[in-house]
Subunit: 164 residues, 2 copies
């Protein structure tokens, strides 16, 4: 039934799903690791070198992930409205995050595998479905790495990178 | 000839090679972006929150990448000696980096594609060849993200993340 049995592949859809969700679980732990100092949530206030707070990056990760799932399923890649639905509130972010987790679990394996080799016009350029999918994960890993430095600067030990 | 013609796949070996080398080119630009203040190379001295300087992380990225290429080709995954060949000198790092770039270009497509689905015993656990390959890239993207914060804290605009 699976491609693995007929011809070996680098990664199956099932493996990619596991990989992506593992990354998303780690990012969720990083979100949760940010401290609340008095009434101020460092998730939305702490910053280094003029960069965005990690909570704002996490909303971007969420929106890029949602766009990517939707695009792979529908062929539509609309530029996200970066402010739509975004709330500078930790509980709202985690709720949206968890809803998307369920949606990815429900729908990711419905993606037509032919979509990965095809070229798609994303808001940030034309690329294959593979490049679009892995870009979503790379963007997450990149910003989460930035979040690790914020946590260290706040004196907090970040979650282990290799635990997914 | 290619798998794409017979059955669609998420990513071909050629696409993975292009992807990996794009990431490595970006990391190389980040290495080069670190300033030298008087006689002190910030690549090997600047740090936030007790973390390693970016040059030390870059040597780790280099070693994990070399291990991964070697492991995928040979099935051998020895624990790297993290100090072997490591020099706290920018030119030596870039030289090793460029040599590995050539080696990856020369050898990556020789990897038996069946290796990706098989389980391998890496120094950091048992995983599929796919998981090992993508872990090398993730580790690079993660630490490079940390390097972006260092650069911003030093007042330097990092290279564009999406340019590969």
């Amino acid at each position: 039934m699976t491609q693995t049995e007929t011809a070996p592949v680098i990664v199956t859809p099932e493996q990619f799903l596991t990989y992506w969700q593992g990354q998303r679980r780690l990012t969720r732990r990083v979100i949760e690791a940010f401290p609340i100092a008095q009434t101020e949530d460092q998730l939305f206030s702490f910053s280094i070198g003029g960069m965005r707070p990690f909570g704002v990056m996490a909303w971007e990760i969420y929106q890029v992930s949602a766009l990517t799932l939707g695009g792979l399923l529908s062929g539509e890649w609309p530029m996200p409205d970066w402010r739509e639905g975004v709330s500078f509130e930790r509980a709202a972010l985690l709720k949206a995050w968890d809803d998307l987790t369920e949606q990815i679990n429900r729908d990711f394996l419905k993606v037509d595998i032919a979509f990965y080799a095809q070229q798609h016009l994303l808001p940030w350029g034309e690329m294959s479905g593979w490049a679009a999918a892995i870009y979503a994960v790379d963007n997450e890993t990149h910003h989460r790495g930035e979040g690790y430095v914020y946590l260290r600067a706040l004196g907090i030990e970040p979650p282990a990178f290799y635990e997914r």
